[in-house]
Symmetry: D2
Subunit: 337 residues, 4 copies
């Protein structure tokens, strides 16, 4: 059994990780931590775990880590994570980090978008980017994996085959996405107060969302080009879970829908968690699963691709555990099926 | 034109009052106030009013009141309101007070449930209880009206004909109600954070809700008895607006459903805002209206009555404006139809 | 008082029209019709009208129309409407038609997208397109107005200033929109069965939606160009009312956000129902109103514009009544404020 | 591996059963059937199973059953089920029947409430009632188990300790419950059309719901008395999954809250799926689980008990699989944890 700790267990991704790991046959949850004011019995903080998990969430004691766990799911926020990850590694842990701190290889871009000096640039270089469908080889056996952002996961899986085949102009990518509100975290805010968010839908982060440079890095990398330009526009919608991405992009060569269908089926043929659909996907069909449904087509000379994921599962905790499975050489789908 | 001020305009009942009054043909909104940190342009605080209302919400200046307004809708919270109402009256205003401070005639019960000493007991005695369907005569021309609680409005309208006719045992009343989340106010809270409240429903205030003594006072008063006992159990449900009340009570004499139907039709025959339905009512049918749908029946020797109201309209701002119309001798339905 | 009939009153746009007209000071509802199987008391078909409207919905009797009404809101479906409109006109009625039958000036395009031969092409030529903000002069006094589609209303209002000023390439328009489910009508369908649609969001009509040619006709007309190409992608989201449109388009000249803000403020300065926002609009802020909130900006050399409307009000019944006001020379905002 | 068939696999309980059984370590799904018009690939009927289940749903061929399966989850509707169950038993199957056909021991009551002559009264006598927490001994090894109704499951678990101890008057039970809409099945209906049900909540089945006699049978049985009277009032609420029951009942002896807490903790001490809470439970905390959260208390001399379950899991498919585990002597929680 792999002994697993969750650092920052009191938020939504912490709860989702617990939820999944309680059913994982090769994992034993051994240590859950959070800020002192968020500690207590798991079953009181998340009443859904009553009778299912009798653990406590405790303040982090780094000195215990070495003795109790083999791997850490680090659910700390951006900017905070990089202060802890080196210590987790030093404590002999494998680390899957949920924050953005190890995702962007270009430190300058990180520092611009996150408005902070990066304090652990060495580990940025070593970290694998944890999108197994594209970077499986780099993840296997790795000790530090940067778990991808939820929006980049959905967007890039939707267009990866096009990028790899260089069928589209990588400077023409428009990602218009709608996310459920769990993506905003569990801290109450006026915008997401139920009577304000119910029956509502609105764009946010116009031109400024931090997942934009992450998508650009990925699109460039996957297409093997210097540079990609992504216009990413997120919206918040009145549901808990899920991201629906619609991606509009200009083909570089003439393409037909059937050709894309075939390409996608080939590309994802052996992927357990990516399904190529024959019509546009729906958020609810992937909710509470680690699956990504994709659908590519051509409309009026524009390539239009859709994807749906659960932001808390394939967009966060599920993918982290998929990465954890790869790190330890386990069956990739364990606990996630 | 009646010049109207809203004190405490930055919350949901303030916004609902503005919404209604903008369409009221005999009212001019002249003054909107709130705590300094909640002031600003109405259309920025509530973007729905963009292009519809160019007023500002300002910190309250009592010295201005006399010159700018005839009536105040006082949307201050419980305990705060009683500190202001005497000053509003002194400034020559008619006052419709939304708080509980002037509802409970028994100061001892008020002080027990609200855990505070009442500082304005004289005005409690003079205040009319603003449920026009039952106390219209006392409201007309009054200078201080205590606007009823949302739950008591729904519950008492559902059983008033029974109480008046002394058909039920006033110590046997069980009120099981579900409210939309706007009833909890606009302050963000973890419980009502969208991902927590969406798809959720739960009871709260078990045995302790402050609307329980208000219902008891009313039930006793309407039935002309010393004492009534109400077991009131509220639930919070995943919708913005509305209260559905189911009331279970033992008849004192044998009654049949048809008899109740007839009684209710007679009782509410000339009431514009109460409709007697031929089946159980639905929250959505009264949302955004000042109407109350009621339906009485008999099941297994128990009288079961249902009512539906919009908690922000008939349960708050709409009823306040209905009261305001009565105070000024206007057509009762003005602005509310 | 203008005597008004609603043909096809049993659907959502019929109900919304009744809701608005009950508060309209210059209109008297005189005749409501529907298919025989959908007839009955208004207050039974729509319980929200209990105590507010005692009319019946009856089967249409064309011979009565002349005597009872001056204007018809024709809420019949596409393809059906064109069979009735000539008869309504012959009965001396002014007609605001909600269907697509009189919107598309190019009969060939109509017949291709609606898969039917058009039976009333003469009236297509005469009909005004009822988007008052752009075609007010043609609507005033007209006897036949084609009420716009909900999506075209939102999309075109969002970019009309750009089109008029020829600032964008009219062949580069991508409209990505999310609509509430009332847009799909009141007929129960598996996709919109509550447990299927709740918490869900999905694209539909990929490459085929009938509002696409309507947008193209409008974009060409407004920009004064022969041809416009619009890629329109609708999504269905878990809310009742509202359309949020995000429009991505390439500028023909270099533009800056500030410049667009100014242009939009000028363009819509005297429009009561269009508000230019300083940030992206939200569906809930326009729900239950006839307002359209727009916001233009520039992101990475792409012009990005947003708009929010209520699909049943500004996208249907509200706009129809706005048109009706113009037809009769009334204050345009009457009943709609 | 236990080979399992699902008869009537195309509805919500069918889908939920598949969902659970795909993760059950000792079960192999071997046969899925439905009405011919509802057959097809599982992954097309329920797109959530894309890539997870490649089976087809086929028309039932009774002659195959013997060879392919050991147990049948019979998800057929009331009245239909009793026509099939004898044949399933004859084909050597263990049967867990989801319908009401084998729940009510009093055939007269069944025939009155279901308005049909019962065609299989012999098996009614033999069937175990599948509420494991109360009738575990009778279920183990049984070949026919009547899976309980969703409302009776929630209601009876909430008061079983009181009934067993004879602390309450079994003729005084009022059950006021709110269910999510999946409880109404997957057939589209006007009432549950998204724009009608969203933001709505309403009572239904006033005085007539068929789960009322089922609760009465259970309450009498558990309390060891001849007769119990339950006033059951269901409501439909705007969420997919879950039932929140509030039960009001008169104690026969004086009881205090603390005493009830202790009693419940003792009663459910070894039950994996029933948790005694220290405050009122919430529907969302049990959604997607087989757990039942209960909370008893005393308010004004009335015993008030609450329970929350997921109607599709503990109220249907989960409980069926719990029963299946018992039938085969497996760990009761297998696949359900």
């Amino acid at each position: 059994m792999i002994r697993t700790a969750i650092i920052g267990a009191s938020g939504y991704t912490g709860a989702e990780s617990i939820r999944i790991l309680l059913k994982h046959p090769e994992v034993k949850l051994t240590y859950l931590t959070a800020l002192p004011e968020e500690c207590g019995k798991v079953s009181e903080i998340f009443p859904e775990f009553k009778g299912r998990c009798e653990m406590n969430i405790e303040p982090l004691d780094l000195s215990k880590l070495h003795d109790v766990s083999d791997v850490v799911l680090c659910c700390l926020p951006h900017k905070v994570s990089m202060g802890f990850v080196p210590k987790l590694l030093a404590a002999g842990q494998k680390v899957v980090d949920f924050s953005a701190d190890y995702r962007l290889k270009d430190i300058g871009i990180y520092e611009k978008f996150y408005q902070v000096e990066h304090s652990d640039t060495e580990n940025v270089k070593r970290a694998a980017y944890g999108l197994p469908e594209l970077f499986r080889d780099e993840i296997e056996g790795k000790d530090l994996v940067a778990n991808p952002g939820c929006f980049p996961t959905g967007a890039i899986l939707a267009i990866a085959p096009l990028l790899k085949q260089r069928l589209i102009d990588p400077s023409s990518i428009i990602v218009s996405a709608v996310t459920g509100i769990s993506g905003a975290g569990n801290k109450p805010m006026s915008k997401f107060h139920f009577p304000n968010m119910n029956d509502n839908l609105f764009p946010y982060g116009v031109g400024t969302h931090r997942h934009m440079p992450e998508m650009e890095q990925l699109a460039a990398l996957v297409s093997g080009q210097k540079y990609a330009q992504v216009l990413f526009q997120p919206h918040a919608g009145p549901f808990d879970r899920g991201i629906l991405s619609a991606i509009y992009t200009r083909p570089d060569v003439q393409v037909a829908s059937e050709q894309l269908t075939e390409l996608y089926h080939d590309f994802y043929a052996s992927e357990p968690f990516v399904q190529v659909c024959s019509e546009a996907p729906a958020v609810k069909d992937v909710a509470h699963t680690n699956h990504c449904h994709v659908y590519p087509t051509v409309v009026k000379d524009t390539v239009v691709c859709f994807s749906a994921i659960d932001n808390l599962v394939k967009g966060a905790s599920g993918q982290a555990i998929q990465n954890m499975n790869l790190i330890f050489g386990l069956e990739e789908t364990l606990g996630l099926w």
